[in-house]
Symmetry: C2
């Protein structure tokens, strides 16, 4: 067979064991929290009909991977790869009218985007979404935030803020500044620049987008308001006195701040951020992001209420709120904070047989260890010298070796070697399980 | 927006919560066992270069999903969707020369095949593979079988057999019957029919494949040998006296049967099966399948030694052995055996607030329950009557409701209602955590 160069497709990665074990440590914690809050798992197929996928992502639509159309009649479907987890959720909701609503689901699956690969951005990456479908209660939005808060806390993060704004407040700002419907999205996009370029960046962007000076001034004035939630609330209530939308948005946030306090979310973490706009068009109510102080890598989570999207396939209005947790960024922060992750979990014990004659016994001991739920391995090739076998164990970070030497074995004894501090003990073979359990308990 | 019909692509499925939770129950057990035996997780991307995928699957190659080639220069790659987990493993091995060998990995990921969908066969399905790469020790083959045995036992299966044969024995049978190299694969394919059509089916197939009568007779004679391992071994040793390959195969199996006994695999489950051939070309040593008596749905697992495949990308010979666990079939058997699966794990407690005034208190109680790691939900809409709220709880199989009634609350009490047997207790609000924990402990 001609030799084929082994290589990954652009923007793709393999996850080797150490990486998976670290991700699992984080995801297990998230899943426990999601389920404790009543969210249930959902999985959807990687392949969807192209008409399900298209028409929802704006200009990013060109990033959807499309399949080559197959010629066989029975499979001549136009298919594409899952681009996010929200559109498949909308399809599932439309196809399963017998679900109990509110339907709280979490979904952790890869998505594919033919984006330009760069540091930290891949063409296949995991998304982790939580959503509550079928209720317009603001408590649902609060629960999403409470979950995000507890999820980040559970993996040792403490220095983060939860920034909250409301699409109706942004709409009221537009009205206040005399910005028409047709330039509302453009205004939001400009405000979104604050994150990277500060208030002058927003001003420049508004200018570039041909907002008139008076409008720009009014927008900048409002989004520059400083102070506590109550202070901002008071000033805005006055500015929005003619805007039912603005007042509704403010009162939603007031209810949210109150309820988040009842939910034990630390108040100092919450920020009413007038410069938070969120890129996507489809948000209709509260919007929120979590941001860490260090390292500066943008939002770890992003979400909000989107009451018009889920109904796209069912033709009814279905209220919904939710958030994505950016796993890649969360992992980056996790690494940078140097939070202790348990070492590569390999096995706890390696059984080493120093001669071919003792192979049978070593395998029986191995079976016994595993029966006792002790993670263990045997070195396959008993002809190899002890040094080779111990070097293998050490490369795999195995902490203990149980060694069968002919002389000791004849005396009814086995050797247990601590591969970390190089101690060893010789014990009667009847007690090796107890001895190993004790050693492992002391270690961990 | 024009209404788009919500539908799944052919051969695809959504996994709703109940299904995922059941699969997880099984997979969690498998993963614990894999890791206890020293296997580590690996994940590879869904998309691979087409030249990595092609040339390995014979005529099934037409089932590979190919991506539409993108026009942008930077992403003009020829890509296809992962077809199995073995070829990606071979690529990973070639690209990561610093892995510690023997490398024991498990991999649980979906694969895609544009196969004709039918009952129980999908175009996207999970594969679950365990493999040991980089050792020719027969102990490695035994470990694979020991894992399969324990995995099936762990989910309550007991009536299954582990059928074992050896490619070298099949080769020796071909030699014994005077079948040349060029018809060896054809003979194996014919023998493979035994599973579905019995010994006469094999005979017919050999005839159809133009084996001469004398060859057919000899083949049928040998594969019809009955008896224990020792009995078959003796007879075959005689027939194969001129075949070093045949003798090597027999001795491998002898060593395996011995070691599997040391590993506590029940001997009555092991069958030396001369009619087991395994479809794929790439096996080179022992081959094995596990088969349940009821229902008759073919092998639950299939694998063997394949010393020539893993090296395909690295150009060196890398010995390997492993097995796939057929999750779909295992789940079917699991369902048919009626093995108790824990019910849909939804939350344990629903907090119900009968008036808007008590909403604050209900949310504080909710936060407290979650802090105590009790899975819980609140009914979002406190304006709904009690009956609606309880009906929701019952549809979601929530066993307990904690209800705040204005009168009882004023007296410092809450009501806990058992939604299964309809009992209720009224208790001081200071002790609701203790009371709920007690009730949940009694229930589960």
């Amino acid at each position: 067979m001609s030799k084929i160069k082994p290589r990954l497709a652009r923007g793709m990665r393999d996850f080797l064991p150490q990486t998976i074990l670290k991700r699992r440590e984080i995801l297990d914690k998230f899943v426990e929290i999601f389920e404790r809050y009543g969210f249930l798992p959902l999985e959807t197929p990687a392949l969807e009909h192209i008409e399900i996928l298209t028409g929802k992502y704006g200009e990013d639509e060109r990033l959807i991977y499309r399949l080559e159309k197959r010629s066989e009649k029975e499979s001549a479907e136009d298919l594409g790869l899952r681009y996010d987890l929200t559109v498949p959720l909308a399809r599932v909701i439309a196809m399963n009218q017998d679900l109990v609503f509110p339907f709280k689901r979490y979904q952790i699956q890869p998505v594919w985007r033919a984006d330009r690969p760069q540091k930290g951005r891949f063409r296949e990456f995991y998304q982790c979404d939580i959503d509550i479908i079928g209720t317009d209660s603001i408590i649902a939005d609060c629960e999403i935030i409470a979950v995000l808060n507890e999820a980040l806390e559970s993996i040792g993060f403490s220095k983060f803020t939860i920034q909250i704004n409301h699409r109706k407040i942004l709409k009221a700002i537009a009205d206040f500044a005399g910005v028409g419907e047709e330039k509302y999205t453009s205004m939001c996009t400009a405000i979104d620049k604050f994150d990277k370029k500060g208030i002058t960046g927003v001003e420049e962007e508004l200018h570039k987008r041909l907002f008139v000076v008076e409008q720009t001034r009014k927008i900048i004035d409002i989004i520059s308001i400083q102070g506590s939630f109550e202070e901002k609330y008071k000033i805005l209530l006055e500015s929005f006195q003619n805007s039912t939308e603005g007042i509704a948005g403010l009162n939603d946030l007031k209810t949210m701040f109150e309820n988040l306090e009842y939910m034990n979310v630390p108040m100092e973490r919450l920020q009413f951020s007038l410069v938070l706009a969120r890129g996507l068009d489809y948000y209709t109510g509260p919007i929120f992001e979590t941001v860490v102080e260090e390292p500066k890598i943008g939002a770890l989570t992003g979400g909000g209420r989107y009451d018009d999207l889920i109904g796209v396939f069912s033709g009814q209005k279905i209220p919904a709120t939710g958030s994505s947790l950016g796993l890649e960024r969360i992992l980056t922060v996790f690494d940078e904070l140097g939070i202790e992750s348990s070492a590569l979990q390999t096995v706890d014990v390696i059984v080493i047989n120093s001669t071919e004659e003792l192979k049978k016994n070593s395998i029986e001991i191995l079976a016994q260890l595993r029966k006792e739920k002790i993670k263990s391995e045997v070195y396959y090739n008993s002809k190899k010298d002890l040094r080779t076998q111990l070097a293998y164990a050490s490369k795999k970070n195995i902490p203990l070796a149980l060694i069968l030497f002919p002389d000791e074995w004849k005396e009814g004894k086995v050797v247990i070697k601590d591969l970390v501090n190089r101690d060893q003990i010789i014990i009667p073979k009847e007690v090796y399980i107890t001895a190993i359990k004790k050693l492992l308990n002391n270690k961990f």
